[in-house]
C-alpha cells in the first residue's frame, strides 16, 4: 500500500548516487526485501514504471531479492531459517524464538549502470 512512497525513495536515492557518474543510465536496481518488510513485490513493480518515468532510471529493471526470516535459536545456539512467517519457532527443536537476525531488510543492494566513457 505504501509501495509508491517506497519506490519514490528508491528513485531519489539512486538519482543521488548517480551524481558520481554523470550521464550514466540505470539498467537495473537490485533490492533486498525481507519476508517481514510488509512489501509486496507486484505492487513495487507496478509503481516502479510510473515513478521512474522521466528520470535516469526510466526503462530500468527492478530486481527484488526476497530474504527469508532468520532467527537465533538459544537452545540450539544457531541461526535458523524459518520456512514462513506463520510460526516463530525453531524448525529443529520447536522452541519459540524472539531474536530476529534477518527478515526486516528493505534496502537497495546495488545498481547496474551504463557509464558514459570519458575520452582522455
Amino acid at each position: 500500500m505504501h509501495e509508491l512512497s517506497l519506490v519514490t525513495s528508491i528513485v531519489e536515492s539512486v538519482t543521488e548516487s548517480l551524481a558520481a557518474y554523470p550521464g550514466a543510465r540505470v539498467l537495473e536496481v537490485r533490492l533486498k526485501v525481507g519476508a517481514l518488510a510488509a512489501v509486496v513485490e507486484d505492487a513495487l513493480q507496478f509503481c516502479y514504471g510510473l515513478a521512474t518515468e522521466g528520470t535516469a532510471l526510466e526503462g530500468s529493471k527492478l530486481r527484488v531479492n526476497l530474504l527469508p526470516v532468520v532467527m537465533h535459536c538459544v537452545p540450539c545456539d544457531q541461526d535458523m531459517q524459518l520456512e514462513g512467517v506463520q510460526s516463530f519457532r525453531c524448525p529443529r527443536c520447536g522452541e519459540p524464538c524472539s531474536d530476529l537476525r534477518q527478515g526486516r531488510e528493505l534496502e537497495i543492494d546495488s545498481i547496474e549502470i551504463d557509464e558514459v566513457e570519458v575520452k582522455p
Binding site: 500500500m1 505504501h2 512512497s5 517506497l6 525513495s9 528508491i10 536515492s13 539512486v14 548516487s17 557518474y21 539498467l27 533490492l31 517481514l36 518488510a37 510488509a38 512489501v39 512467517v85 506463520q86 510460526s87 516463530f88 519457532r89 519459540p96 524464538c97 524472539s98 530476529l100 526486516r104 528493505l106 534496502e107 537497495i108 543492494d109 546495488s110 545498481i111 547496474e112 549502470i113 551504463d114 557509464e115 558514459v116 566513457e117
Partner: protein, 225 residues
C-alpha cells in the same frame, strides 16, 4: 559505454530511520515514554486511549497524545475531553504516520514540552500493514486486536504483530456475544511474537485497565534507558 555495478547498500527508509533515531534520542533525554498504538480501523485505539489518558490524568501523570487519521479531527476532539493535550495529524490519504510527521507536529505544540511529560501516545492510522515499516522513535509499539476481529488476525498480519512490544486484546466485554476463542487468540499472538506481554481490556467496563496502567508505569520508569 561500459556497464558497471555500483554497490549502494542503502536502506530505502533511511531518511525515516534517521529522523526516528533523532526523535528517540530526544524522547530518552526528556525521560518521556513514547508508545505507538497500531491496529486495524475500528479496533478501539481511540477508546483505549481515551480511558488511559483519563485515568493517567486522574492519577496526576502528565500525558499527551498525537492522533493520526486520514481526515477529520474527530478523534482529537474526543480525546481532549480527558484533559490531556491532544494534537491531530491528518495524513490526507497516506496510510501510515512517519517520523517526519511526528517531528513536525511536536514543534510548536502549545503548552506541551517533552521534558514536562511522563507519557506521549501516538495513535497511528488504522492499518495493519504499512505502519509496521515506519519507526516513529517510540519505545513501545503496541498492537491492538479486538474480540470482534477474529482470533487469526496475528497470523494474517504477522509483520505487524511480530514488530510489536506489547499486545492488547480490546472490547473483551463483547467476547461472549462474539464467541471469541481466547485461548486460540493468545496462542496465535504467541506464535507470531513469542513471549510478548498481552493485556485484555474493555475501555467500556474498565476490565484489565489496572494491569495495563501498571505496565505503563513500569515502562515509564525505564524511559531514559
Amino acid at each position: 559505454m561500459t556497464t558497471r555495478i555500483v554497490e549502494l547498500r542503502r536502506g530505502i527508509l533511511k531518511k525515516n530511520d534517521e529522523l526516528a533515531a533523532g526523535l528517540r534520542a530526544n524522547f530518552v533525554a526528556a525521560g518521556v515514554l513514547v508508545l505507538n498504538l497500531v491496529s486495524s480501523p475500528g479496533t478501539g485505539k481511540t477508546a483505549l486511549l481515551e480511558r488511559t489518558l483519563r485515568e493517567l490524568v486522574a492519577h496526576g501523570s502528565r500525558a499527551a497524545a498525537l492522533v493520526g487519521d486520514l481526515e477529520t479531527d474527530n478523534d482529537a476532539r474526543r480525546l481532549a475531553s480527558s484533559g490531556a493535550p491532544v494534537r491531530q495529524i491528518n495524513t490526507h490519504g497516506i496510510c501510515h504516520l512517519d517520523a517526519e510527521m511526528i517531528g513536525k507536529h511536536l514543534e510548536g505544540w502549545e503548552g506541551v514540552a517533552l521534558d514536562q511529560l511522563d507519557y506521549l501516545f501516538i495513535e497511528n492510522v488504522g492499518n495493519l500493514v504499512c505502519p509496521s515499516s515506519y519507526d516513529l522513535g517510540e519505545k513501545v509499539r503496541v498492537a491492538l486486536l479486538s474480540v470482534t476481529e477474529g482470533e487469526d488476525k496475528p497470523l494474517k498480519y504477522p509483520t505487524l504483530f511480530n514488530s510489536a512490544d506489547a499486545a492488547v486484546i480490546t472490547k473483551i466485554d463483547l467476547a461472549g456475544p462474539c464467541a471469541f476463542d481466547r485461548e486460540t487468540a493468545l496462542k496465535n499472538i504467541n506464535e507470531i511474537r513469542p513471549g510478548i506481554r498481552i493485556f485484555e481490556t474493555s475501555a467500556k467496563t474498565g476490565a484489565g485497565m489496572a494491569e495495563w496502567l501498571e505496565y505503563l508505569a513500569e515502562a515509564r520508569s525505564s524511559a531514559r534507558d
